[in-house]
């Protein structure tokens, strides 16, 4: 069983430190939630894990299956099984969902086997259709330009559809609940739950406890000022929902001043 290990991670963007010594271990098969107030570095963590070039790691390491990801390109990280469901998926004008998914699936096959000739078109269509039905996505979706003119719910469903097609080992869901109404949230969460298995570790990054009613976490972490400051069971999320983050902050300040 592999795990994602984040060790003393320090990250800056344009010389401004955002992550300041973050530690986290996420084994495959578990669901961890990271909660925290705005501006605490949650999205920075997500983008850094995926290898966004604007985020500079100044200290620490990210290991998957014992191997450091730091010198790997985003594409190579994807081939290893890291997946990021974006908070704000960009649109790719002129590129259809189907064309994009097939290109991505083929890139993964080729990374695993350089002689691979690509997925046969019929097999691809069959798999895509299955996944789309699972996510209750209209079949016309495949012919639309990726994320172009998509509603908030459609964008997030498109993210989960990609996750379903690529079958990652570690999925990072960056504020997947933001901008979703309750029905869309339920559909997206059900989609994620269907994909849950022993080979998948999920990191749910969220501001609100709401999504955790649908995607039950094994562990909840609280993030503040670029670090994980508190970890606990699912009840921790409920505490935060009820009492806010103030008590964590106070505890943290008392802790550091002591």
């Amino acid at each position: 069983m592999s795990e994602l290990v984040i060790k003393n991670l320090h990250v800056q963007i344009e010389n401004k430190p955002i992550l300041k010594g973050l530690n986290l271990t996420l084994p495959q098969g578990e669901v961890h939630a990271i909660m925290g107030p705005n501006g605490t570095g949650k999205s920075t963590l997500a983008n850094t894990l995926m290898g966004h070039p604007s985020y500079q790691v100044t200290e620490g390491d990210i290991l998957f299956d014992g191997k450091s990801l730091l010198n790997l390109s985003p594409a190579e990280r994807s081939h290893l099984g890291i997946f990021l469901a974006f908070q704000y998926p960009v649109s790719i004008p002129g590129v259809t969902v189907a064309n994009f998914l097939r290109t991505a699936v083929n890139a993964h096959r080729k990374a695993a086997n350089p002689d691979d000739k690509g997925i046969p078109i019929l097999e691809f269509r069959k798999i895509m259709k299955e996944k789309m039905e699972m996510l209750k996505v209209d079949s016309a979706f495949a012919g639309r330009y990726l994320n172009e003119g998509f509603s908030g719910g459609e964008k997030k469903r498109a993210e989960v559809l990609q996750m379903a097609m690529l079958q990652p080992s570690i999925a990072i869901l960056d504020e997947t609940d933001s901008g979703l109404d309750i029905d869309a949230l339920r559909i997206v969460s059900e989609g994620v739950n269907t994909l849950r298995n022993k080979e998948l570790g999920v990191l749910v990054i969220t501001h609100y406890q709401r999504i955790l009613n649908y995607i039950q976490p094994d562990i909840v972490h609280v993030m503040m000022d670029g670090r994980i400051v508190e970890s606990g069971g699912p009840d921790l999320a409920l505490d935060l929902e009820e009492h806010g983050y103030t008590w964590v902050r106070e505890k943290l300040e008392n802790g550091t001043s002591a």
């Binding site: 995926m50 290898g51 966004h52 070039p53 390109s73 985003p74 594409a75 990280r77 994807s78 081939h79 997946f83 990021l84 974006f86 998926p89 960009v90 790719i92 004008p93 002129g94 590129v95 064309n99 994009f100 290109t103 991505a104 890139a107 993964h108 990374a111 330009y145 990609q162 690529l166």
Partner: protein, 453 residues
């Protein structure tokens, strides 16, 4: 308080190196004028020669040539095509160019190679009075038909190159669709080949009489990598009669050793329509003038352009949408991608004549810069002399969006492939305007070849 000026005068000197490398002039003389048996055709040659004598190589001081510098053309090196020359190594175009570009069977095909011409036209169309042939055939068999249309829409007075083509042009392609004849199967013509130190001059005339319809795909192509400079100048004259409809696709894939110049104009009469698609990937340098003259009420023109440059290519497309009658519609979309140190220019103008009310003109040019040293100039323009019109335009020059790229990379798509996907998506609006799968496939192939590692 104003700062006192520096007392030492600053002397600015400009080093005008361009004078040193100024192009030589062409050496063609009166003796090179192609002799014509028919008097009216001889008169066309004579007139073109008179104009030609007064023209020099265009300089960047002329507005239309400001961004396309011909100082390194060295025009003196080019001779006229010698018809006895039989040893041209690339005698016939490659299979990929000959392959039909539409899904249906072709109704006719003309291949004008360096010393060979092949003309095919279905009997059915011959019987209907369709003429699809070469100028040399017409000179023998029907010179008056050629004389009726040659030089009427693009005139030698428009510049050195059109005057040159009309005075010295060896051959051309002529398409004539009689009244009420509608052809759904496409016609295909190819001007093939360019020889070192030689001027290739081509002329295309398309005439659609009233109520007729045709689809025509015309290519100008030569081997991709040949040594030595070659030269091509072309004229395209199109007349769309009342209520006639032409679907016209032009593909330019000349080798990177070719200096390429073309003057094109379509005149569209009452309720006539032209759907005009341009694909340009070749040549060392291109200066293309394309004019759409909507002269009849209700005339419509749709122009779609695709260009993709790399290396040190320089492609300059100068388009003019002239609304000369009321209720006319034009819609232009040119999209280009640029690699390496290449340079593109698109300069467009919508002109609405006095009294051309209720016209609707649109022009847009979008450029995608794929390399730091590539450069695109995009210059839209409007000149409106009527008051009840709708004219809009837009021009953009941009780079690949970093977030789009990251998104694709994060899905495991390698950088080169991700860039290609974005470029394909960028061109998709042009693809959507092309009704032939074969042409779309050709454009896809162009993108693949240009984006290959």
């Amino acid at each position: 308080m104003v700062e006192p000026m520096n007392e030492t005068p600053v002397v600015i000197t400009r080093n005008r190196t361009s004078t040193a490398s100024r192009s030589t002039q062409f050496t063609f003389s009166e003796n090179d004028i192609v002799p014509e048996k028919a008097k009216d055709l001889a008169a066309v040659r004579e007139h073109a020669w008179e104009v030609y004598k007064t023209q020099g190589i265009p300089a960047t001081t002329e507005e239309a040539w400001r961004r396309t510098d011909l100082s390194r053309l060295n025009a003196g090196q080019f001779g006229l095509q010698n018809n006895d020359l039989n040893d041209y190594s690339a005698a016939t175009p490659p299979e990929e160019i000959l392959r039909p570009l539409a899904d249906t069977e072709q109704a006719g095909q003309i291949i004008l190679s360096i010393n060979d011409e092949k003309i095919k036209l279905s009997n059915d169309l011959l019987e209907k009075g369709v003429v699809f042939t070469t100028f040399s055939e017409l000179r023998k068999n029907n010179p008056s038909l050629l004389a009726r249309y040659i030089g009427k829409i693009v005139k030698p007075e428009e510049g050195l190159f059109p005057a040159m083509v009309q005075a010295f042009g060896q051959d051309g392609i002529f398409l004539f669709i009689p009244k009420n004849v509608k052809i759904s199967q496409p016609l295909h013509s190819i001007i093939w080949g360019a020889i070192e130190k030689t001027a290739r001059l081509s002329h295309v005339i398309v005439v659609l009489e009233e109520n007729s319809e045709a689809t025509f795909i015309h290519e100008t192509a030569s081997p991709e990598n040949e040594n030595g400079s070659a030269f091509h100048a072309g004229i395209v004259e199109i007349l769309i009669g009342e209520n006639a409809r032409l679907q016209f696709v032009e593909l330019q894939s000349l080798g990177k050793n070719v200096w390429n110049f073309s003057n094109e104009r379509a005149r569209v009469e009452n309720q006539g329509t032209i759907e005009w698609t341009f694909g340009a990937i070749g040549s060392r340098l291109t200066k293309n003038f394309t004019d759409l003259d909507l002269v009849g009420e209700g005339a419509t023109g749709k122009m779609s352009g695709f260009y993709f440059t790399d290396g040190t290519q320089h492609l300059d497309h100068d388009t003019q949408q002239n609304h000369l009658a009321p209720h006319t519609t034009s819609d232009l979309l040119f999209k280009g991608a640029l690699l390496d140190n290449s340079h593109s220019v698109w300069q467009g103008m919508i002109y609405v004549a006095p009294g051309a009310q209720k016209t609707d003109g649109y022009q847009a040019n979008r450029n995608l810069i794929l390399s730091r040293n590539a450069h695109a100039d995009s210059i839209p323009g409007l000149e409106i002399k009527a008051d009840d019109v709708r004219c809009t335009h837009g021009a953009t020059v941009g780079k690949i969006d970093k977030d789009e790229l990251f998104y694709l990379l994060s899905r495991g798509i390698p950088q080169k492939e991700a860039e290609r996907l974005i470029v394909e998506g960028f061109f998709d609006p042009i693809m959507q305007r092309i009704p032939f799968e074969g042409v779309r496939n050709r454009f896809q192939q162009y993108i693949h070849n240009k984006m290959a590692v």
